[in-house]
């Protein structure tokens, strides 16, 4: 046990010294750079604020991103060029069509549901007493990994042959209501939506918390002024509140889209991508890590990236507009 205590102390010492070191370096940099004045002050400040992020992003994401694009034109072992073979494979393989349809469903349905439900609850939470209790409980699933959430939902979607005792909650409810439970994971296209529920269940709390903070930050005088002008209920919300939290709502939507595009653990744990539930991110994971085909995996990653571009463009435009107003 004593060895355990000493290694624990060493571990914590390394954590706190690392954090302290980090802040000391920053402090020294800030102090030194703060002395610069005149023309040089701005560029120096820019470099100090921005360079750490850019260097880390370069090593951690940009270079791997470029590598991925290059690999998508190469063979499984990434040692020979194959032109567009990996992309034509996607056009020809019938499984990829299902994957594309499902992925698009995910990025359409999941963010809208997550954000809308989060917004609705955020508004309502503001109206009730003891809001911190339901807020915490609604946020709790955020603390559970996707794999964990999937295991939890196995106890919801579990199906037994009719006649046996249903240990899955959904099957039991359907049976209780007089219906006949089905093998949910086999029921197309319902199964894909059932998987989406798991994602919404875990992620809704994040949007709710952020939107709730945004609603609370809306200045009271603006609301009061428009209430005096006769704006009530829905109109007040649409004309005053929503425009003021629109930025936050878009953030929640955008992170929802990115999350829905990248999540693969749920599909992997629940169905392994079978029964027409597969999505791009899961197929990419399978290609790279299970079937060892870097080429196809990378090509799928590039498509994943391309699917994000419309949202990117929308974001750029809305931010441009915001900036031109101010």
């Amino acid at each position: 046990m004593s060895e355990f205590v000493s290694t624990t102390i060493t571990k914590f010492t390394s954590v706190f010294s690392a954090i302290a070191f980090f802040f000391i370096v920053l402090g020294i940099l800030f102090a030194l750079a703060g002395r610069a004045n005149g023309k040089k002050a701005r560029p120096i400040a820019l470099v100090i604020f921005l360079a750490p992020s850019l260097v880390l992003l370069l090593a951690g994401l940009i270079i791997p991103g470029i590598r991925t694009i290059l690999f998508s034109f190469m063979n499984p072992d990434s040692n020979d060029w194959v032109g567009f073979d990996n992309y034509t494979w996607m056009l020809e393989d019938p499984n990829v069509k299902t994957i594309m349809v499902n992925t698009i469903l995910w990025i359409l349905v999941v963010p809208i549901f997550t954000a809308a439900l989060g917004l609705l609850l955020a508004i309502m939470l503001d109206r009730i007493k003891h809001e911190s209790i339901p807020k915490s409980l609604l946020f709790m699933p955020m603390a559970i990994s996707f794999v964990g959430a999937s295991i939890i939902f196995k106890f919801v979607y579990e199906f037994r042959d009719p006649g046996e005792v249903q240990i899955g909650l959904l099957s039991a409810i359907v049976e209780f209501l007089g219906g006949t439970p089905k093998d949910w994971m086999l029921s197309k296209p319902l199964n894909t939506f059932l998987l989406m529920i798991i994602y919404v269940w875990t992620q809704m709390g994040f949007g709710m918390v952020i939107l709730s903070a945004a609603i609370k930050a809306v200045p009271a005088d603006i609301v009061e002024a428009s209430a005096l002008d006769g704006a009530h209920g829905w109109r007040l919300f649409r004309n005053i509140t929503f425009p003021m939290i629109k930025g936050t709502f878009i953030v929640v939507l955008a992170t929802g889209v990115v999350g829905a595009l990248k999540v693969f653990d749920i599909v992997r744990t629940m169905t392994g991508g079978n029964f027409s539930t597969n999505v791009l991110a899961n197929e990419m994971y399978s290609q790279v890590f299970v079937q060892f085909d870097q080429g196809k995996g990378s090509a799928l990653a590039v498509i994943l990236f391309l699917l994000l571009t419309p949202i990117l463009i929308y974001n750029i435009r809305s931010l441009r507009m915001e900036r031109s107003h101010s």
Partner: protein, 438 residues
């Protein structure tokens, strides 16, 4: 750090005290170092091993190796992960390779050899393997004519799990031929029992149990030559012989009379599939030797008269003698430091295999292990078939095929075959199309 280690330390200190007072003989009474006299003392050296084997197996492995570690001073650190297959290539390519890894797929071994990071087997290991293993086992650890990885553990897949208690209660006899087994299933069905259970669910690897069923029947129907041709794709999935074997699997494991809800097999996890055997919820399950551990989790006893046991899946064709499908891991080295070579050599020796076998739940195809060393009756049964010189052995075909098929289309299509009623013709067409071109 560890209470056990502390106890060992205190014990060792006490022993050395006694030893210095009396003579040296009492010290060796604790650990007999004679079998390890061939290894140099390398105190303070550590060898890391990465594996897909998880607890509680890891502890048993460590116990089996404890004498070796005590006598050579080498500390062996084993890390088990259920993400092994995904992580090992990443770590190897990224330069963070372990010293040794136990790889269950010869196909993955070949992939890793291509990276140039795998070290060929040292002479001492080659000597052991030539002495203790058959040529075919050595071949699975060989890539392009060069021998890399010595076989480690084995598992025997040609078993059918059943409950001796339930069989006794119903007056059933263990079948010795394939038609007998199906006739038994008929009489079970007549009593309203589910004759065969099955489950394909296994997360990202969903579908693998079905590949086992097809492998069993292909080897049983057609023998080694066809089986090996099937593995290297000189015989396609669409070949009438493979198709006829798949039809046989369909008439067996997709027969609603015997299995109940066929589609449910696709969504049942393979672990849950056989949990009803002790209670008679279903009567038989074709699964590998390791499955006893899973059944035993709920407290069932595994013995020829207990809650669960296994019988040999009978042959289907008299021309194919004692067909056995099996699998195993291969000790692969990424370093040639002397202590790594020492551990590698030790792991390929009969000394290790015997000491591991004695601790239960382990099978080795190492011929230096006496059958009497097996305590677990299932392991003994499995070892009998693996060691039988008349056996027609087939290594798990999906582990030998290219990963795009063996860990890709085969899993996916077989799952669709069970779960979505996809026709055999469509299944074989899709798998053949997915076979890598080069």
């Amino acid at each position: 750090m560890k209470r056990k280690a502390l106890a060992a330390l205190v014990g060792a200190a006490a022993l050395s005290l006694v030893a210095s007072l009396v003579t040296t003989t009492s010290a060796s009474a604790a650990v007999n170092c004679d079998p390890y006299s061939g290894y140099k003392m390398m105190k303070g050296k550590t060898v890391t091993i990465f594996t897909s084997i998880l607890e509680p197996e890891l502890t048993t492995l460590n116990t089996a190796m404890s004498d070796f570690q005590a006598c050579t001073g080498i500390k062996i650190k084993i890390e088990g992960s259920n993400q092994f297959e995904a992580l090992l290539p990443v770590r190897v390519k990224g330069g963070n390779a372990p010293d040794l890894a136990w790889i269950p797929q010869p196909g993955l071994l070949a992939k890793l050899v291509e990276t140039g990071k795998v070290v060929p087997a040292p002479a001492s290991v080659v000597k052991n393997v030539d002495k203790y293993w058959s040529k075919s086992w050595k071949a699975y650890g060989t890539v392009k004519g060069k021998f890399y990885a010595a076989p480690f553990g084995s598992n025997m897949k040609s078993l059918v799990w059943y409950s001796p208690k339930q069989f006794a209660k119903n007056g059933y006899k263990v079948p010795s031929t394939f038609p007998e087994m199906l006739a038994l299933a008929d009489s079970m069905a007549a009593k309203g029992q589910i004759a065969f259970c099955g489950g394909l669910g296994s997360g990202g690897a969903t579908g693998w149990p079905a590949t086992d069923w097809v492998e069993q029947v292909v080897l049983r129907d057609h023998g080694s030559a066809v089986y090996n041709g099937w593995v290297d794709h000189s015989i396609k999935f669409s070949d009438p012989r493979i198709v006829s074997s798949m039809e046989k699997v369909a008439s067996w494991m997709q027969n609603p009379k015997w299995v109940g809800n066929v589609k449910g097999i696709a969504t049942t996890s393979f672990q849950d599939a056989g949990k009803g055997i002790p209670d008679g919820k279903c009567m038989m399950l074709q699964q590998a030797s390791f499955y006893g551990n899973i059944i035993a989790e709920s407290g069932a006893s595994i013995s020829p008269t207990g809650d669960a046991f296994a019988f040999y899946l009978p042959a289907t064709n008299s021309k194919v003698t004692v067909p056995v499908v099996g699998g195993g891991e291969f000790t692969t080295a990424f370093s040639k430091r002397p202590e790594v070579v020492a551990v590698q050599t030790y792991l390929s020796s009969a000394t290790f295999a015997t000491s591991r076998v004695q601790l239960d739940n382990w099978i080795s195809a190492n011929s230096g292990v006496p059958l009497a060393a097996y305590k677990n009756p299932v392991d003994k049964l499995s070892a009998t078939y693996l060691a039988n010189p008349k056996s027609t052995f087939g290594f798990d075909a999906s582990d030998l095929m290219p990963a795009a098929v063996g860990a890709g289309s085969m899993w996916r299509e077989f799952t669709a075959w069970f779960g979505e009623g996809k026709s055999i013709a469509d299944v074989v067409k899709a798998i053949d199309a997915s076979w890598p071109k080069s």
